[in-house]
């Protein structure tokens, strides 16, 4: 167990403290050494396969596999989109990484461009992430232009769906950051109709380290079957939002204890607004692992752990998230637009003491109707979250519906 293992040392966040701001090129090169030359990393995709690196945008798709699917369609004309949209409200890890280690992200983009056969890199960074923009702009200015790869920093629109892969491509092609429903996937035909790799910034940072130190090094971190490390964002009522790097297999209980703000009876939102609620007492020993968590009905997602104290109302917390998800649809697919709005309104009625007699049953039924019926997975994410809320806060929901009041007489009940 933890006490007998070597303490985990950060990897993508190794280096100067956060207070030092974005790491400069000279410090970055001194600390990590220069990237191996393209000829030395010719088999990088295979190395990524053996490293087991999983994508960090939320889906956990194997990175090597994704790069290969782009490379197979590329005739040297592919595009790499560095996805730093980070629209998840509870996540701060991508913005932090871009703001503090911009050169590691750029290194990752370069090795990806080389591996998939790309001539262009687009840094697609949420416009609200000002420190990330500053860090990346400074990093780009510090570098000699690469004759083979053009790099461009783009401000992504704010919004939950703006980071979805087809929405990213749509925005870069037509200025419209809404998902599309086309036969061709981005890896076949994406930005400017070219094969396009849309990859999360943290995935690329890990790839940049694997390019230097290899698959075995990457696999030397991790406690269980899923190897390596991951950035997580921890938040809760008692602590401000913090970004940490953990090795996979670290338990949720360890994070709760070190965060210091999650007394017994607390609940935790795992994976963000697309994730799942869980009772902290029940998941204390659950390892943070994107492969095993879904087997237990939990989500690692983009690494969000957001704690809610037992004296805070789960119905109110759920209402807040559902309202955000309903507001954040692309307003394209009817079942998502109307279904999420209906679920959000019912949850709001429950939380504010004006519930109708069948609101809970309706939310559950609507959830089943909405699932899988969008062009993207926005409705599915909301459904997973709300269903977990109905289970974890079952008594709360029942009290709100039947007695039209919060069981705890909480102050947030209006």
């Amino acid at each position: 167990m933890p006490s007998s293992t070597t303490p985990f040392e950060p990897r993508v966040l190794a280096g100067p403290p956060a207070s030092a701001g974005p790491e400069r090129l000279i410090a970055h090169d001194l600390r990590l050494g220069r990237l191996p030359s393209p000829s030395e990393r010719r088999n990088l995709t295979a190395v990524l396969d053996s490293s087991g690196l999983l994508g960090r945008g939320g889906a956990g798709f194997p990175v090597g596999h994704k790069w290969r699917s782009v490379a197979e369609h590329s005739t040297g004309n592919a595009v790499v989109v560095v996805n730093g949209a980070e629209g998840e409200p509870r996540s701060a890890k991508d913005g932090t990484l871009m703001g503090l280690r911009p050169h590691l992200v750029l290194d990752g983009a370069l090795v990806a461009a080389d591996a998939v056969g790309a001539t262009d890199v687009v840094l697609y960074v949420g416009r609200e992430h000002t420190e990330a923009h500053r860090g990346l702009a400074q990093a780009l200015a510090e570098r000699e232009p690469d004759p083979n790869v053009q790099m461009q920093l783009v401000a992504a629109p704010v919004g939950y769906v703006a980071g979805e892969a087809t929405a990213v491509v749509h925005y870069l092609n037509e200025g419209d950051a809404r998902p599309t429903f086309l036969d061709a996937r981005p890896h076949e035909r994406g930005v400017a109709d070219r094969p396009t790799l849309v990859q999360n910034v943290e995935s690329l940072a890990h790839a940049a380290l694997i390019a230097r130190f290899g698959a075995d090094w990457y696999r030397s971190a991790g406690r269980l079957a899923t190897r390596g490390s991951a950035l997580i964002t921890v938040s809760g009522p008692n602590q401000r939002r913090t970004v940490r790097e953990i090795e996979y297999g670290t338990t949720i209980g360890e994070i709760a204890r070190s965060a210091g703000g999650a007394p017994p009876g607390s609940t935790v939102l795992l994976g963000g607004y697309f994730g799942s609620w869980a009772s902290l007492d029940e998941v204390q020993d659950e390892p943070l692992d994107p492969v095993s968590m879904p087997e237990h009905g939990l989500e690692f997602g983009c690494g969000v752990l957001s704690f809610l104290r037992s004296d805070a109302c789960g119905v109110a917390a759920t209402a807040e998230i559902m309202a955000y998800m309903a507001e954040g649809t692309a307003e394209q697919c009817g079942p998502c637009v109307f279904g999420l709005a209906s679920m959000a309104q019912a949850t709001r009625r429950l939380s504010s003491g004006v519930a109708k007699g069948d609101d809970v049953e309706n939310i559950d039924r609507w959830a089943g109707q909405v699932l899988g019926r969008g062009a993207c997975h926005h409705p599915d994410g909301a459904v997973g979250m709300v269903r977990s809320a109905l289970a974890v806060f079952r008594d709360d929901f029942a009290s709100h519906q039947v007695r039209r009041r919060c069981a705890l007489n909480r102050a947030d009940m209006t």
Binding site: N200, S276, Q369, H377
Partner: protein, 95 residues
């Protein structure tokens, strides 16, 4: 090869005509949007399915022969359906 129905949910505006033409495979949810059975269409329903496709005023419905007809999520493509925020596949969905 058997044919299947595919809906483009972005195009669909919930006219609901399809459900009237092919009630055997399409019904409407409470907001008026079609819930479609995407399993292969029996031979005796193919002509009717084609009429449902033709009846859609916004061309949201199509008949597919290829394996990807079940929707892109099952099309065998290498890439995940999503990236970034939209990617966390809640377990409640199953797979």
């Amino acid at each position: 090869m058997a044919q299947t129905l595919r809906l483009n949910p972005i195009r669909c505006d919930g006219y609901g005509i399809c459900a009237g033409v092919l009630p055997q495979r399409i019904r409407l949810d409470e907001w008026g949007y079609p819930l479609i059975d995407s399993s292969p269409i029996d031979e005796h329903l193919v002509a009717r399915a084609r009429r449902a496709v033709d009846a859609c005023p916004v061309l949201a419905l199509s008949l597919r022969r290829d394996r990807s007809a079940h929707g892109r999520a099952n099309s065998g493509a290498d890439e995940p359906r999503l990236s970034h925020r939209l990617a966390g596949q809640p377990s409640a969905i199953g797979s």
